[in-house]
């Protein structure tokens, strides 16, 4: 790992790759070299199942601006959902 900027979070959700859905229970968030995006560093999200193989991975690589905007949009959407009484705590 070049930057070593990486954190894991246990989650509960589902992800889709191709035509198949799979349960995901771990997301790895890192800022490090991407595998595909033509940049030196990206914000990388790897959604996985802890019981799965390394290939059972839903991967997203975002440039820094996109990552920041995504966080902001998620916060805004969650605030609206909370205000609308849609979020079961």
């Amino acid at each position: 790992m070049c930057t070593m900027i990486s954190q894991q979070l246990n989650i509960s959700g589902s992800g889709k790759a191709g035509s198949d859905w799979t349960r995901v229970d771990l997301v790895c968030v890192s800022f490090d070299h991407p595998f595909n995006m033509p940049l030196e560093y990206t914000l990388n999200l790897d959604f996985t199942s802890q019981a799965g193989t390394p290939g059972a991975r839903l991967a997203v690589e975002l440039d820094a601006a996109s990552a920041r905007q995504l966080v902001q949009v998620i916060q805004e959407v969650m605030q609206r959902a909370q205000a609308g009484g849609f979020v079961a705590e």
């Binding site: 790992m1 070049c2 790897d46 193989t53 390394p54 991975r57």
Partner: protein
């Protein structure tokens, strides 16, 4: 230097290596055909994993006359495409320095045991592999040469130390016992030019045999022909510097 009238042959294959904690891991092995003796090289792969670029580079070193072994440092983390395995390792915060040193030491021992290896073995790494190469050359007795290509986090602040990386490789510089070649891009963010300056000052202070080449117009990973950071002119010159250095330090040329 290759000439058009010479014979050239190579064997390249996956092998099994008894490594750290006696774990069996796989490694990619390439060697020129012939009885030798040939010098050896251990290649330490980068953060994107034990990937195609490293298998190509293993064969490249063999074509230049080196018995070359590239251990899969991520073997214990499962199998799949190199990037999927590397992503899993990335999520877990990387592999520990202790484990890497065990695997690299085992690779060195395997090469030295081969009857067609001359007894001189070098170590090469890029990116995180450059850091691991520096660490290995300081901590594992027996290497005759080291090539550190843009190894980040050789210089580390106390805040950057982790249980897996408990000591900055720079702090082991006094133990470096072989000549070092450093290849760096001046636009790199890890290591930054200031960190390369600090590394050079430390090598000087300890009276080490080193040679640095620092390239303008190049950033991190400028040898990687499959990535946008590739810089043709600097990469061609850098590879020439690598093999000139290894020929001098391992072949006595």
């Amino acid at each position: 230097m290759y000439t058009t009238d010479q014979y050239e042959g190579m064997l390249a294959e996956t092998v099994i290596l008894p490594a750290y904690h006696a774990d069996l891991i796989n490694a990619y092995f390439a060697r020129p055909l012939g009885t030798g003796p040939f010098p050896g090289m251990v290649l330490i792969h980068h953060m994107p994993g034990w990937d195609e670029w490293y298998r190509e580079t293993t064969r490249k070193f063999a074509a230049h006359g080196y018995i070359t072994l590239c251990p899969n440092l991520y073997f214990r983390d499962g199998h799949g495409t190199p990037e999927d395995v590397a992503a899993k390792v990335r999520g877990a915060g990387g592999v520990s320095d202790e484990q890497v040193l065990g695997d690299v030491g085992a690779a060195l021992a395997m090469l030295l045991a081969l009857p067609y290896v001359s007894g001189k073995v070098g170590v090469f790494g890029t990116c995180s592999g450059g850091r691991h190469a520096y660490l290995s050359a300081c901590r594992i007795p027996g290497f005759a040469s080291i090539v550190d290509c843009w190894g980040g986090r050789v210089v580390m602040t106390p805040e950057e130390l982790t249980p897996k990386q408990p000591v900055a490789p720079l702090d082991y510089t006094a133990d470096l016992a072989c000549p070092l070649l450093g290849i760096f891009g001046n636009d790199d963010h890890s290591p930054t030019p200031e960190q390369v300056d600090q590394l050079e000052e430390t090598l000087k202070r300890h009276g080490k045999d080193y040679e640095f080449h620092r390239y303008d117009g190049a950033g991190h990973g400028f040898f990687y022909h499959n990535r946008p950071n590739f810089r043709q002119e600097q990469a061609v010159d850098g590879w020439q510097k690598v093999f000139a250095f290894l020929d001098r330090t391992l072949k006595g040329a």
